[in-house]
């Protein structure tokens, strides 16, 4: 990338769908499974991750010429850890109950490969504006998956959405959905559906191409 291609909408869209961090790249699975037992937790985790992604991509992209190659990973981790600590403090100051439920998982954003991955694979080689779009896209992709996962799990596991009772008192909650196995189950079924859909689409485009050729 010696030339600097201009920032495009694709920089954003790529992270949301085609290279979705969770369901396509399989990164950030730890928070995606651990904190999605309620929509509020999923949203708070997404917001914290978005903040850290934006901050780290911004700093890494603007400092890429200053940071020597030998210590780049150390520097990236330092940058990420700083933003994570700030996000942790801000969450505790604004939404203490959610912060308490997220427990150690906010601090664990530091070791989320998704963030270090975007810093090393994208922000360290691209312009600031493209890196910011990339961070927004990746964060949006992460948020969509976390919110969907947590919505399914909270609805089936507690009969509510964002704490508001939806399914009524006669609904017997499927407790397993808010326990760890429910996370694996929901994510697994979700990935199955996505993979199936992608395969079907591929077959359809292949068939369309064959028709054209004929």
């Amino acid at each position: 990338m010696s030339e600097h291609p201009p920032a495009t909408f694709d920089d954003f869209l790529r992270g949301v769908w085609r290279e979705n961090p969770v369901v396509v790249q399989m990164l950030g699975l730890c928070p995606a499974l651990a904190v999605t037992n309620s929509v509020a937790n999923g949203l708070a985790m997404s917001m914290a991750t978005t903040f850290v992604l934006l901050g780290s991509n911004l700093l890494v992209a603007s400092l890429k010429r200053v940071i020597p190659h030998e210590v780049r990973i150390t520097s990236y981790v330092l940058i990420i850890a700083t933003f994570v600590t700030i996000a942790d403090l801000l969450l505790e100051a604004t939404v203490p109950s959610v912060h308490k439920q997220l427990g150690p998982f906010v601090a664990l954003i530091v070791v989320n490969c998704m963030i270090l991955g975007r810093a090393e694979a994208f922000a360290s080689r691209n312009t600031v504006s493209r890196s910011l779009l990339d961070a927004l896209g990746t964060a949006a992709g992460f948020t969509v998956v976390l919110v969907l996962l947590s919505a399914v799990r909270e609805l089936l596991g507690a009969g509510s959405l964002l704490g508001v009772d939806i399914l009524g008192p006669q609904f017997e909650p499927w407790v397993i959905m808010v326990l760890p196995p429910g996370g694996f189950l929901t994510l697994g079924i979700g990935m199955l559906l996505i993979g199936w859909q992608a395969e079907r689409q591929q077959r359809r485009t292949a068939a369309a191409r064959a028709m054209e050729a004929a």
Partner: protein, 221 residues
Amino acid sequence: MTTPHSHGAPATLDAEPAVPSWRLLATLGLAGALAGGMIVTVYGMTRPRIEAHRAALVESAIREVLKAPARWDTLYLVDGALTREVAAGTDARRLERAYFGFDDAGAFVGAAVTAGEPGFSDVISLIYGLEPTTGALLGMKVLGHKETPGLGDKIEQPAFTGQFDGLLTPLAGVKGSTGMPNDVQTITGATISSRTVIKIINNATERWQPLLQAYLRGGTE
């Protein structure tokens, strides 16, 4: 940096001019200082709000387990005895404490203490109100736990915590109601969590009751 076997080192290492060590050190040192500065700033900005939240939590918990006292005093545990004043130089925030509640007439109603012990997954911490002379409980509230959702987390629901009001210590965990003044009905599917709560209160009472009684005796003399 020198390599012990220079002849065996890959050629690519020599091809790129090495960045001097001082530059690496300077970069990391500067980055560390900046990161530290940012964190300290945000910590200073958020600290008042975080502490206010925590204080509000403790305050509402005391109100709950002492059944809405008119006022309460905070007593600190220093050298095995309760005291109202802390010697200058000691950090009062690190001391264990008991909250002495008083009703509208100024009469002592009971003391609230916090305690915690490992439950099914992690430490269960709770606060409870105790009438030191009779050993009767005023109320109990779970402050923190990581018990299994849907099973162990029922220890914080009123159906369980409500049982403790007026019970006599030492408590005993039972299945089904017996009507005895020290029986707590354990939760089905959360026997360990329920028993832990009972154990925490019994152990803490064994430790705190003499301390509280000693202070009250000293106060009336």
